[in-house]
């Protein structure tokens, strides 16, 4: 009999394949695909270069920041951590707004340059995309590495003190083994996120030269209704991303039980590196904080939001986001339940979860739309498809949070639960819930925040009947209604920040 994890994985993969087939069948002019060769090569090369640069910078800066945060305790450390979480979960369209507000020609630095008599460079192009991607992904790297560093047994730090390790010795023997273990999977994840980036590339790309496959698919569907081309591009992106997802699965370190007696033991390199750490912390804060704080300008424009349109968009966003959050958690839990069967664990749930990283949401949703339009009213499909696709897009993150928690629980108590015949709902309630609730809260908040700020699928379905806050923000930005846009951006950042704060409180309480 197929188990829930296998059934869920098969259902997700069938949905993905079905949508792509539906999309491919909708088109008729297969011959046009033959002309795509040089275009595709250029597209992949430029997206690959952009993603590689973004990944390299995010990894180097994120690692430096994680080490500085590991070594230092200072007033405002918690605020900086909350800022990092906010940057990681802030809607991409808000990050794009913040980058323009700080680095744009009319932004803070642009105005400063003009007041000094210099003509500021344009933010649109490869450099703008890379800056935005670093602002978004460096916090992701920092949080993941900091978590890994802090899980190392404190005895090693005490040993380093007793053996008189210098700062270089500490890096070589304490930090580098952790970086070498964690960084490859993180690098693939960040590359994947940047390679499939949509809102940032659309807003800051400055033209087709820097387009990603995702943007090309959107343009093929939205402006040219060329479903065959969209399906071909989507298939290609899916192949590349599946290969990267497989690499990430292979590179993700196995969960290790290395509980030490003392996690808070101090390191011997605290004094030697305080200047370097201070510099890194200031630079990181200077890179991340201004784009996020730039939306504070929206505080004075909140009155512009007093409209029925805003209320409708806020309610729609909330309904979509909460539905997507719940669905993502449910699917991730079902997939992660495969981890109970250690050591005969199947890789199929991993594949289904991480395949979503590579599946272009536009191709996916357009394929589903084509498949379903004969059965129901197309206008009502948006409200169903947007949360579904948002949940599936959040699935890899929710799964990454829940699967290790469930695997650890299975390692620790699985055999005991089996011997006591505690199974099904009772096992979830009595054995797994205590280990799971922290991760579940984080997964729900993360998936909800991701959906709340999504400016992807909604770009296809959005209109007067279906408007979300990010859609409204993009609409106001396009109409140069900057005051209203900044107020909307503030609402979105506060929502994401609030969710991040609640997640941190919940996780700390249930750690």
């Amino acid at each position: 009999m197929l188990r829930p994890a296998t059934l869920t994985a098969l259902a997700i993969l069938a949905l993905a394949c079905g949508s792509l087939l539906g999309l491919a069948r909708a088109g008729s002019d297969i011959a046009t695909l033959a002309t795509l060769g040089p275009y595709l090569t250029r597209l992949i090369a430029s997206a690959g270069l952009q993603a590689a640069l973004s990944t390299l910078l995010s990894l180097v800066l994120g690692t430096g920041l994680a080490l500085a945060l590991l070594r230092r305790r200072f007033p405002g450390r918690e605020l900086l951590l909350a800022l990092l979480t906010t940057a990681a979960v802030a809607p991409t369209i808000v990050i794009a707004f913040g980058i323009v507000a700080i680095y744009g020609r009319s932004g803070l630095l642009g105005s400063l340059a003009r007041s000094l008599g210099a003509e500021p460079p344009s933010i649109y192009g490869l450099h703008g995309i890379v800056i935005a991607h670093v602002v978004m992904n460096m916090p992701l790297v920092t949080r993941a590495l900091l978590h890994a560093f802090e899980r190392e047994p404190g005895e090693r730090r005490r040993l380093a003190s007793a053996l008189g390790f210098s700062a270089a010795d500490c890096f070589r023997h304490l930090d580098w083994p952790v970086i070498r273990r964690e960084a490859p999977a993180l690098a693939v994840l960040v590359f994947l996120l940047c390679f499939t980036s949509f809102a940032i590339v659309l807003s800051l790309g400055g033209g087709p030269a820097n387009a990603t496959l995702e943007v090309a698919i959107y343009e093929a569907i939205r402006f040219e209704a060329d479903f065959v081309r969209a399906a071909a591009l989507a298939g290609l992106q899916l192949l590349i991303c599946l290969a990267l997802a497989a690499a990430m699965t292979a590179l993700t370190p196995k969960s290790r039980e290395e509980a030490g007696a003392e996690r808070n033991a101090t390191r011997p390199d605290l004094f030697a590196l305080r200047r370097l750490d201070g510099l890194v912390l200031i630079l990181a804060a200077a890179l991340i904080a201004p784009p996020l704080f730039s939306v504070a300008g929206g505080l004075g424009a909140m009155t512009t939001l007093a409209s029925a349109e805003f209320v409708r968009a806020a309610v729609t966003s909330a309904v979509i986001a909460v539905s997507a959050g719940l669905l993502a958690c449910l699917l991730a839990l079902l997939l992660a339940s495969g981890a109970r069967r250690l050591p005969q664990r199947s890789r199929l749930p991993d594949l289904a979860a991480f395949a979503m990283l590579g599946l272009p949401p536009f191709a996916f949703v357009a394929g589903l739309y084509v498949l379903l339009r004969g059965f129901t009213d197309p206008a009502s499909l948006g409200l169903v498809l947007v949360p579904l696709v948002n949940a599936l897009m959040a699935l890899p993150y929710a799964y990454r949070l829940l699967a290790p928690a469930l695997a650890t629980s299975a390692q620790r108590h699985g055999r005991l639960a089996e011997s006591l015949d505690i199974a099904g709902w009772n096992r979830l309630r009595l054995v797994e819930w205590p280990a799971l609730r922290g991760a579940l809260g984080a997964a729900f908040a993360f998936a909800t925040a991701l959906s709340l700020g999504d400016f992807g699928v909604i770009a296809l379905f959005g209109g007067p009947e279906l408007t979300t806050l990010p859609y409204l923000l993009a609409n106001r930005l396009g109409a140069y209604r900057i005051e209203e846009a900044s107020a909307l951006a503030l609402v979105l950042v506060l929502s994401a920040g609030g969710l991040a704060f609640l997640t941190q409180r919940w996780s700390a309480r249930h750690a």
Binding site: E155, R158, S166, P177, R180, P268
Partner: protein, 232 residues
């Protein structure tokens, strides 16, 4: 001689104050209930914890102003004594130079230290390829190589089989005698060191509540807390 008097440590939920004198070259077994402050005492001597008051002297030298690496102390924990990415020889070599840029003479000293704990043929293995007892012997070799006269063992053999535990305690005793070390060793099962240790210190509630040779502590009429702890 190791002396500490009024050595006080304060935490939000725990206060400790230790007094004890251990003769030079002695093996002192530190026993007592879990959470009683045995590890805290060893960490204070090693320099990992900063006492708020008191004296801590070894052979007349005040240890309190010294950083952990500058103290005449080597320490072994119950686990995580080795770095998993280094071989046994490299882990021992850390005791000489953390940079691991060893010259020929230093490499010979590493080999000799490994030979002293019968691990010559395991020199190129990583910790994951060694048994629990072998790992602790590697850590012991490193401690010996450092040449520090005071050795602290924080339940280092707690995870080993009883037979192996006994063997390791005997090995520590032999090395202590041949190298002239003063040893403080916390133990879960004090009976295993009854024939070896010169002195037992019973630590509970953050204090050394009783100290003396095994026979005196366990004799009828001996200290009540010790007899209760031992179930006698």
């Amino acid at each position: 001689m190791l002396e500490f008097a009024g050595l006080a440590l304060r935490y939000p939920d725990f206060e400790a104050c230790y007094d004890l004198t251990v003769p030079a070259g002695a093996l002192c077994a530190v026993i007592g209930p879990s959470g009683g402050g045995k590890t805290t005492l060893l960490h204070a001597i090693a320099g990992f914890e900063r006492p708020s008051a008191g004296r801590l002297h070894f052979n007349g030298q005040d240890l309190l102003p010294l950083a952990p690496a500058a103290r005449p102390v080597s320490i072994l924990f119950q686990d995580h004594n080795l770095f998993p990415h280094l071989t046994a020889a490299e882990n021992v070599g850390l005791g000489l130079k953390p940079s691991l840029r060893l010259d020929v003479d230093e490499r010979e000293r590493v080999a000799a230290a490994l030979a002293e704990v019968n691990l010559t043929e395991f020199a190129s293995r990583r910790p994951a390829e060694l048994s629990g007892g072998q790992r602790q012997r590697v850590a012991l070799a490193r401690a010996l190589l450092r040449g520090k006269p005071l050795m602290l063992l924080d339940e280092p053999f707690g995870a080993l089989d009883p037979g192996l535990r006994r063997e390791m305690i005997d090995r520590v005793d032999t090395l202590r005698r041949s190298h002239g070390l003063t040893v403080l060793m916390t133990l879960h099962t004090p009976e295993e060191a009854a024939q070896t240790a010169d002195l037992f210190a019973f630590v509970a509630n953050g204090r050394v509540e009783a100290a003396g040779p095994w026979d005196r502590l366990t004799a009828p009429g001996g200290p009540e807390p010790v007899r209760r702890f031992l179930g006698r």
